[in-house]
């Protein structure tokens, strides 16, 4: 086997493409499997047409080595068919399905090769499933896994659900009330974001990055800006770093508090449901005080931030935070103290640590299974380098653990806000961003509130984006929800679903 001697990147760094060796496919596979055996995780994997068309597609895999705070870059070439890595490395299953759908190539031996987002391939005239390549595929049209037998029935839900939720299709195989298998088919929110980025960045790109998943505006916006800054060699001023972290934690707070409230609502515990629904708005309004938008639109910009935070405003925000904090703690205390709540959450939607690791779960879902994953801790940038040391995990892997991870992260984030807000550096809030380096690759890992947001930018010889890869935490974690539903009652699906609270549009792109 070839020695593991890949090029290593830090979070927010760029590397010249010529330094990344193009491996034989066999060497690529051996290296990747060895990395994963040594607890590396596939942070991103994507294909891109090779510059010389005769070479087919280039395949990149970026493996996060959490304990070394770096990312290993592997590169190879593939043709129309290539041996699937999924059987020996389940983390690859969605990445390979995605590559098959985008470029019409076939990973041979993939155990679950179905479309992900239902769009035509980016290369004209090809389709991995032999569908008519000139017609838009119909969403949800694929062979669902089916269980047969007496008393076995199928429940299909969606794409339009009850309530104000994004669309997705869920197919349950049930025996009575018991769920034997859940298959999740998404793609309804697919807007073609990665494709629109080709030859970018374009003037509309920043707004599109902020709306990959609107509830993760700061997370995705930040990852995009870090990629551009890495590719252009821009140094972000210290004050902008602080404001960015402040906004990222406010986003986490708003969503985590909202989630605790929604979880309470799902089990009919109305006091916390009502309080947290309002408190979520209070955190959003803090973000709006900073930049005018409750979701942080317009705040994070390449090179820094678009809005300054003077000591007066910072003081006002911290004073408001104090009041909100008291109410948040009170609302959570009665929730975690109520026996009726605990009995509904404990043991529901349990996921084992090994499944979480095999599937490459990230964020809240992983942390709840005692899997330490937090890019603020393992791959820190900006103020997180010296401010963040509170990596939270829970042991039980159930809905309760996911609620507890959120509640403990709320405490940590409030403390972080206070520390950032009282030690704001002086100076500029934005630095100029020059042209992007040609033929380079950069990665950004940002711990959004759901988990790790990964953006990878690859430039061509003209310094424009040849490929841009976005990995929302939900990309990995939807598989976790499907596994967590096994042997659960179908009536507990809303509760389990909410305990993950994943993004449809973040997955669909």
């Amino acid at each position: 086997m070839k020695d593991l001697n890949p090029k290593l990147l830090k979070n927010g760094e760029a590397i010249a493409l010529e330094l990344v060796e193009i491996l034989d496919f066999d060497d690529f596979r051996d290296c990747l499997l060895e990395e994963v055996r040594k607890q590396g995780r596939v942070a991103a994997c994507f294909a891109v047409p090779a510059v010389e068309a005769s070479r087919g597609l280039e395949l990149f895999a970026l493996v996060a080595r959490d304990r070394n705070a770096c990312v290993a870059v592997y590169r190879t070439c593939i043709g129309e068919r290539f041996p699937s890595l999924t059987p020996s490395c389940p983390q690859m299953h969605l990445f390979e399905r995605e590559i098959a759908e985008q470029y019409g190539v076939v990973p041979e031996g993939h155990p679950w090769l179905k479309p992900l987002r239902f769009h035509t391939a980016w290369r004209p005239g090809v389709d991995a499933w032999g569908r008519p390549a000139d017609q838009h595929p119909r969403s949800g049209e694929m062979e669902f896994y089916q269980v047969e037998g007496e008393g076995v029935h199928e429940v299909a839900v969606g794409p339009v659900h009850a309530g104000i939720i994004e669309p997705g299709h869920f197919r349950f195989q049930c025996y009575g009330e018991k769920v034997m298998h859940l298959e999740i088919s998404l793609g309804y929110q697919h807007r073609g974001i990665e494709q629109m980025l080709l030859n970018g960045p374009h003037p509309a790109t920043m707004a599109q990055m902020e709306t990959i998943a609107g509830d993760t505006t700061i997370g995705h916006g930040l990852a995009y800006c870090q990629v551009l800054e890495a590719l252009s060699g821009c140094e972000v001023p210290a004050k902008a770093q602080s404001i960015r972290a402040l906004a990222l934690e406010l986003e986490r707070l708003a969503n985590h508090v909202g989630d605790i409230g929604a979880l309470a609502g799902d089990v009919g515990f109305l006091p916390t449901f009502s309080y947290c629904g309002r408190l979520r708005g209070d955190y959003l309004n803090l973000t709006a005080a900073l930049c005018g938008s409750r979701f942080g639109r317009g705040l994070v910009r390449p090179g820094g931030v678009g809005f300054d935070l003077d000591p007066v405003l910072a003081g006002e925000m911290l004073a408001r935070l104090k009041g909100i904090e008291g109410n948040t703690m009170g609302a959570m205390e009665i929730f975690f103290d109520a026996p009726s709540v605990l009995s509904r959450f404990e043991g529901r939607g349990r996921l084992s640590r090994s499944v979480a690791e095999d599937l490459g779960l990230v964020g809240v879902a992983a942390k709840a299974c005692a899997v330490p994953r937090d890019s603020r801790f393992f791959h820190p940038t900006g103020v997180y380098r010296h401010l963040f040391d509170d990596l939270i995990t829970e042991e039980t892997g159930d809905a309760m653990a996911r609620a507890k991870v959120r509640s403990r992260e709320i405490t940590v984030s409030i403390e972080l806000l206070r520390r950032i807000g009282t030690s704001l550096p002086e100076g500029p809030i934005r630095a100029p961003v020059g042209p992007l380096k040609a033929d380079a690759l950069a990665i950004a890992l940002v711990e959004g509130w759901r988990g790790e947001v990964v953006h990878v930018g690859l430039t061509g010889g003209d310094g424009r984006l040849r490929r841009y890869k976005i990995v929302d935490p939900s990309f990995h974690n939807w598989s976790g929800l499907a596994m967590a539903m096994r042997d659960e009652q179908i009536s507990d699906f809303p509760l389990c679903n909410k305990s993950f609270n994943l993004s449809y549009c973040g997955f669909d792109l």
Partner: protein
């Protein structure tokens, strides 16, 4: 139990006084655009090119901003002379698509429904929300109307689970290819008479995804829209104000 009562006491009464009292929005909030002075006679109409979403048109010394396309960007790149700024007025809902073409002055806020439908829906309006490629921003700001701060129920407006129970469709998102048939099926499933509300820049004209081949863009080419609520996303009060105007409650 005692702890719960104590907590209830501490959390206090939080439902806003809207619409009797106007909401207080943060100073940096971006609402109805404002235009500084007239366009210069020798203007090179750069705004038509510089807005990434083609929201600006200029002619006859007037700048026309299409609020159906505008994302209320903090760093609006459109006018090199910096004529376009955003004010604090959150009331933005209109009844007609062309009413969103704004060039200053009085803004044609939404008029109530015509008497026939107003009589049916004025005191009880049930809406079915469908997200068709929305980023969950508009969806979240609709959802929040159900919290006790806004308490949508006190106006007789409610989001319902089934289109069969609904009087209206409230749509968010640019209508992706993959959602188009679901949107039309939901509309078909609603009993007539019915209303259609487009919330957010995406639902009105495709928003940031205007130029994607995977989106419609927006609801206009597909269904007759009764109320347009612009913004990216609109503030919850913008949505609530629009709904109340439609029902002749403001």
């Amino acid at each position: 139990m005692l702890q719960m009562i104590r907590e209830r006491w501490r959390q206090g009464f939080r439902t806003g006084k809207f619409p009797k009292e106007e909401p207080i929005l943060p100073p940096r909030f971006r609402g109805l655009p404002q235009f500084a002075g007239e366009c210069p006679s020798d203007c090179d109409r750069a705004c038509e090119v510089l807005c990434p979403f083609s929201a600006c048109k200029s002619g006859d010394g007037r700048l026309v901003l299409d609020l159906g396309r505008c994302l209320f960007c903090a760093d609006c790149p459109a006018c090199p002379q910096g004529r376009i700024t955003f004010g604090n007025d959150y009331r933005l809902a209109v009844r007609q698509r062309q009413d969103l073409l704004y060039s200053g002055g009085e803004y044609p806020l939404a008029q109530p429904l015509e008497p026939e439908r107003l009589k049916l829906f004025g005191r009880s309006l049930k809406l079915r929300q469908v997200s068709a490629g929305g980023c969950n921003g508009c969806e979240a700001d609709c959802n929040v109307l159900g919290t006790l701060v806004f308490d949508l129920g006190r106006f007789g407006i409610q989001f319902v689970a089934s289109p069969r129970h609904a009087d209206g469709l409230l749509l968010t998102g640019p209508v992706t290819e993959n959602m188009r048939s679901a949107v039309l099926a939901t509309y078909e499933a609603m009993p007539a008479p019915k209303i259609v509300i487009a919330v957010g820049a995406c639902g009105i004209n495709g928003g940031p995804f205007l130029h994607s081949s995977e989106v419609s863009p927006g609801l206009d080419p597909l269904l007759p829209v009764d109320l347009y609520i612009p913004g990216c996303p609109p503030h919850p009060y913008t949505i609530l104000d629009g709904l109340l105007r439609l029902l002749d409650r403001r």
